[in-house]
Assembly symmetry: C2
DNA sequence: AAGACAAAAAATGAATGCAAAATTGGTTGC
DNA sequence: GCAACCAATTTTGCATTCATTTTTTGTCTT
């Protein structure tokens, strides 16, 4: 087919309204950045697939300039990688990458717990306790999806309680990189590990109540470490079943 | 013909060689990114100053497109901020920002220590010990510059010993953001604090020798916390003496 | 004389155009 | 028949151009 592109035809100038409301991004490249980031994080682009700029441009209804700016930012965030003169590809996460990411997440949450113990209010602890009991309910009902949601909210609450926006941003960044893996790994979690995680969460809550910063730091790190082990095991099983991307490069 | 850049004259195709050798950046925007980042980190641009794109373009001998791409990346890294339709400004670090950054650095180093204890070799520990004694020499000779250099290398060695490239990159990013402040704060360090830091470093080395991950994590965090306190105190003195940027916005 | 409004100048944001590199397809030689 | 080489198309990278917004300056009114 002749991709003439005589006229764009598709006035996609106002489609982002449905996503998450207008965050403070009024500029076009900012909007594109948010949309593309969600698009990548949600896994709409196949792993390691090469996506021509033109195609994305038509898809988003913009020219290449703001798109390329957004791609550069996503590359800086570690979501995609830019091969010189060879376009952008969604970043392939090998086992080593995932191990590293989980460890960094563990370190950040560990830090968040330590900091939170210094400044957290009784109300915040009560709120987290409430989430914990909700999560326990989901656990009893074997509702994995609900459990996962509350689980995320608990960890986010701890990070929020640290009152450190820099930490929060970094945490969100790393969380975005492994979101897909985290989700699937949680889904594949075995019953025993699930019970283990619940016990760990109780230890977390206990340390948090006593504002034992150093202890909470340790418990959180170990908790995330165990998550990492589970994720790696799950990934090994999946890759063993379908080793479609054995070689790193394309 | 009002060509903004009538005679480029400067073949800036090979100027970044001095920095750290050719990192894998062959593209123009990549080179520009490295140069601009160093330029900002080294403090060549006044704090919060508005830098017109044209000026930077002429300075670097390129057009606005690759420059803007580099600016977007630097903004994503937190070094500058991009006001919509109002240009880029070097990011102003208020006291709160510095506190947050020091805490995140503390968390990352704390993590690095914990991870390092799992995989560090005897040779690496020996190397760090050697650095430590060198640093002690600089301390005895009251050589602040040499002390600062070795100190940085020790902390970098611990991060490197964690064998986690993701952590290393994040650490480098945050370190770049507060490099200037860290340096000046170290220079302003009082004698007593200096001795305190030396004792803390000995405790770090001790925990590292015993591969006591959790303990090293605590010690490193406290060490960085004390650094933070010193930096904040120094900053308060400086700002007290010359409160040129009292208001946050311009 | 001081403040407000308007117009001009400058700067940012986005799009298009152009050159270089890469990938693809076809052809030729062995 | 297969591999290597070359041309054509696609794609990336950068420069230039156009439109919108901001800022500045000058004038007019109160």
């Amino acid at each position: 087919m002749k991709s003439a592109i005589p006229e764009t035809g598709v006035p996609i100038t106002q489609p982002a309204t449905g996503q998450g409301g207008e965050r403070q991004e009024a500029s076009l490249h900012g909007e594109i950045l948010l949309r593309l980031r969600d698009h990548v994080v949600e896994g709409n682009i196949p792993d390691g697939a090469r996506v021509p700029e033109r195609q994305l441009c038509e898809m988003l209804g913009i020219s290449r300039t703001p798109l390329r700016e957004a791609l550069k930012v996503l590359a800086a965030e570690g979501l995609i990688e830019l091969l010189p003169n060879r376009g952008a590809r969604v970043r392939q996460l090998g086992q080593r990458d995932i191990e590293e990411l989980f460890d960094v997440m563990a370190g950040l949450e560990s830090l968040a717990g330590r900091l939170a113990c210094e400044v957290i209010t009784d109300e915040e602890i009560t709120a987290i306790e409430r989430l914990h009991y909700d999560m326990y309910g989901h656990y009893l009902h074997r509702d994995m999806h609900g459990y996962f949601q509350i689980n995320q909210r608990i960890h986010e609450s701890i990070v929020a309680a640290a009152r450190n926006e820099t930490l929060r941003t970094a945490y969100a960044n790393f969380a975005g990189r492994i979101r897909r893996i985290r989700y699937s790994a949680n889904f594949a979690r075995k019953r025993q590990r699930w019970a283990e995680a619940m016990r760990e969460h109780e230890a977390i809550l206990d340390a948090l109540r006593r504002r034992a910063g150093s202890e909470l730091s340790d418990v959180l790190f170990q908790h995330l470490r165990n998550k990492r082990t589970a994720a790696i095991e799950h990934l090994a099983e999946v890759q063993d079943a379908a080793p479609e991307t054995a070689s790193q490069d394309g």
